[in-house]
Symmetry: D2
Subunit: 343 residues, 4 copies
């Protein structure tokens, strides 16, 4: 048996990354790729490096075709758009939504941050696809809301610490830095190499980035009480890579904190705590790994946590494939067991 | 009258940056450049782009030659080494020390962070060269300790707020990011383009970077009581540029905070608060400017401050030239009134 | 007396570079900046780094205002558009056109490469602004056609050799590489940092780049007979910098070839032949310099010439300011005598 | 049966790339890794990103251990050193030498370019490992000399054209550009991110790069008469990627030339001629592919060929794995069938 896979919005960065990862995934094949803009073209006419390795004609969205030809569909459509398309196929095929449309459980919160939601019933059906935390629920799910990249990098180290009550629920600060591919393939001066290159900047400073409610939802669940965070995203002049520097109040010592996180992920293939030193984004480039470093400052009773992921892999398409593996009962690391591209 | 200038350690990045800035500085000339390694060579043999524009033969350190030929000397030597050389000329010529050897007022603090100090008497004589804050003292000084790059980016926005008592003295966090030139011209895998390029990392996480006591010394002076900070430096894969994201507790509103900083620097040529939006490092590349953005998060009672400088200019050689201008009664912006290299 | 300067299309990369250079240019001031898109806005609202250093309100194109308020106008408008605007002010004010509209002497050649020319009479009036070669003509000109970036990097080393008859007129190959700013501020996937970054590519391979007729026109004039070249442009994933590797047939030895070029530029401030070794683009970043290296391969009777410029400075705005200096009888290097931004 | 693999010099860039590729290679395992410098350390202590994915203790070179534990050994040692180590194991195990020590058939040529050769008998035994050209010989070989990166990018497009007699044997020019990883992990100012970054330069201009005799040896074999080339290498400020722009004289038309190359590689998995347009280095990053574009300039009777490879994969470790597959009768693309890391 081979799993038949559909991808909605296949020509953006997360779509191309899915194809890259699924190309090395045994027991599945990509049989349907949609693109409104390039409908009818071969994908190698849009992304030339596919030539000779991956061959498919891009199609318009067609729910009947999807139902008859796909076992699972990844949606790489933008939020706001994704829900509408998913609503027409969910229930008939398994769906993994890489947009934000199904991540928040609370409709009012969605509206406050994203605007109207056309298909609020999705919010109830979806499982939040943070694989190491919701593995069991994902295994039973027919709709998975794939987490955002920033949330993934922040939640993975914090959830075990909050569950154990080792860190304060107030005063958490996440200072995060992302490669430019997180902004997608759309054109703007912000992504022009002459303006983004050789530069570094913060954006959406203050309480304004849409990943905030998603992060707070999950931290609150882990802590069992309301958690509010301070979150500042920055743009690194690189293509891939995300690093979050997280400040938390704690009276636990460094060894206890590390042991807590390590122990939570002791069976996890992709999440690792470094015994000493701190990770670089290049250590995980192109992989589904999350590496975590941690230092305790005993004078300030604060711990500084550094986590790195590849924003397009563990922060998007890699985690989505990981969810698919869980949903279909496959080994969780299938298609994801690679070393980083180094150097 | 023309000011005769000597540079110790002229072939490193801060030495070359001094020469670049002084090349456009009217009323002075660089008459002496020392280099132990390249003693006797023309500087264009070491840094070929000087050919045809700046011509000098590198010499060994010679206190008598310096006294007879220089009005002022910039030391670009490393800490630990710089003090010894300065001690043999200070008093006879004005000195601006770009190393850390004269920045800390307290000998025990120096020893705790840097090790033994060969010439502790320097600590008493030196004025801390943060020009916008210590302009008057610098005007009277014969020895100026040029601030570190991280401290400059953190102190400029915080000092006015602490002096006015608008922010808390506890819980200050500075999450700073620097271009690689801050690590100097020495060779290591950390600066190899194949390892530093397309990557991003934190280093000296926890209470371990030597700029911490310098920052705390100056914040404590501004606040009038002990300030301890959390400081995490990161490496950006660019040559020049530094951005500090600073988190402070405050009950003041955004407008009050911005007005406080703006007002403090209302006569300053190089320090500017943006009315809205946040600066990029590229906005100040190659200039002596510091740009500051600020947002208040009313839910957390915290302000997020973003400041940018060029680590080699305002963070090193530019501020040193600014001090020289003040010491010699010249217009403060002479040689420093340039626009950034954009794009 | 101060020269009053207008800039058409002031918010693109060459416009911004003109302002940067003219900011340090004594005896002139920019009094008029046009922008169709940003008409009425302050330039710092478009390019924020100007804030506090350069202040002007962008205006729509107005020939009467220009005539009354400007001594000289730089046109940074695109080819095809520039000629129309220039035709309404030329004769009343001096004009330096950074577009290709006045570079070619032959109308049919223009049409073949660029399409219809609205104001062919410009072609006769314009002097080709390669300053080191046409200094005298520029001094008498009221309309200067500023050379293209690729042509500048190729013509400067070749013209002396062709004038002296030291190299063959057949078989010249120029393999050129440019930073991305040469493509301008417009948006395309070719300039998206995620696609252009960490990559290298050729474009317009074969006889298709529009700089070819300009290069051949000038080489033909220098040689006194028809010269055809092979020209391949490439895109370097950097902002600024251009390097041309040029292959020529010759029976002269290396010393003779170098002496020929050196001698031709012996009084030139900006063009230098390296005695040994070869230049990097970083050696000239932000400067108006052209550095040239040359090696003779005696087995193939071929010389390999490497020339570097900053495509936005000597390749565009810097050379335009140099022409302005010549046109107004100022020292040729005024405003251009800077060292490169290193590192 | 599983192939047991040894790697000499495992901690450099080509060694790490071998491990990355072999990690996804079914039917083999890396059982021996030597490192003189890090003897006794776990490889994850040297290259931290291996932690959790690849685990081996580095050992000193030990011919007996190799003979008893390895079926094949890859040597990633530098030229001059490699031959000595290989001579002690060749004959007992299959060897693929990534250095230049076994590439040249003629001892005098080796001496002229590299100096003395300690084990000249290797030169006779080795097969040149350009897989698409010498597939049969590699299948019979016990010692394969893995081609250099520049030669691979130049030979692949030229060999079919020379074999067919479609291009001239005189006047071939290869203007090649390489990412910095080609210079290896050693430290020098040339690889310092502050000097190599945001720059572009030529090096070893004229007849001086050691890859020249290797290229000429193979072109001469293909042409059946002596071929001399002009070769200029350049450094691109990226980690991985190589692009060669090759100029050849020809009277054949574009379609004929493309058909010749396409036809030669019609069964090749990794070498492809683009029907139109030209490849970027990013199109092959991390893959074993070589993409080729070609344009004919009918006015100059010259063709311009652009080829791209990843210098560490098809230009080094990937081609070495391809040779191993051929030597052991495995499918040629095993472990190498991946899509590029995009973006």
């Amino acid at each position: 048996m081979s799993i038949s896979i559909g991808i909605l919005g296949a020509t953006g960065y997360t779509g191309a990354e899915l194809i890259r990862l699924l190309h090395g995934h045994e027991g599945s094949s990509v049989t349907y790729c949609s693109s409104r803009q390039y409908n009818g073209k071969n994908i190698a006419g849009v992304l030339p490096f596919f030539k000779g390795t991956f061959d498919i004609t891009l199609e318009d969205f067609d729910p009947d075709a999807i139902k008859s030809r796909c076992d699972v569909v990844f949606s790489c459509l933008p939020h706001g758009t994704s829900a509408g398309f998913i609503s027409r196929i969910a229930g008939d095929v398994k769906v993994i939504d890489l947009s934000a449309d199904a991540r928040l459980h609370d409709l009012d919160t969605y509206k406050a941050w994203y605007g109207d939601h056309g298909f609020p019933e999705l919010l109830d059906k979806a499982v939040y696809g943070l694989c190491e935390v919701y593995r069991e629920e994902i295994g039973q799910a027919s709709l998975v809301a794939n987490p955002g990249c920033y949330p993934t990098s922040i939640l993975l180290p914090l959830i075990p610490l909050l569950k154990q009550g080792l860190i304060g629920t107030a005063g958490i600060i996440a200072d995060s830095k992302s490669g430019v591919s997180g902004a997608g393939r759309g054109l703007s001066l912000k992504t022009h190499i002459c303006e983004a290159g050789e530069s570094f900047s913060a954006y959406k400073v203050g309480r304004s980035h849409r990943h905030i409610p998603e992060i707070e939802q999950e931290l609150t669940k882990a802590a069992g009480k309301t958690v509010e965070i301070e979150f500042t995203p920055h743009l690194i002049p690189i293509t891939r890579g995300m690093l979050s520097t997280i400040y938390v109040d704690t009276h636990a010592d460094e060894a206890t904190l590390k042991a807590c996180v390590s122990s939570y992920y002791k069976d996890a293939r992709f999440v690792h705590v470094l015994e000493e030193d701190f990770p670089s984004t290049k250590d995980v480039r192109g992989t589904n790994n999350c590496l975590i470093g941690l230092a305790k400052n005993d004078r300030t009773n604060r711990a500084v946590i550094v986590s790195v992921i590849d924003n397009l892999t563990k922060g998007a398409s890699g985690q989505a494939v990981q969810s698919m593996n869980i949903m279909f009962g496959l080994p969780e690391s299938r298609g994801l067991d690679s070393l980083p591209l180094f150097p």
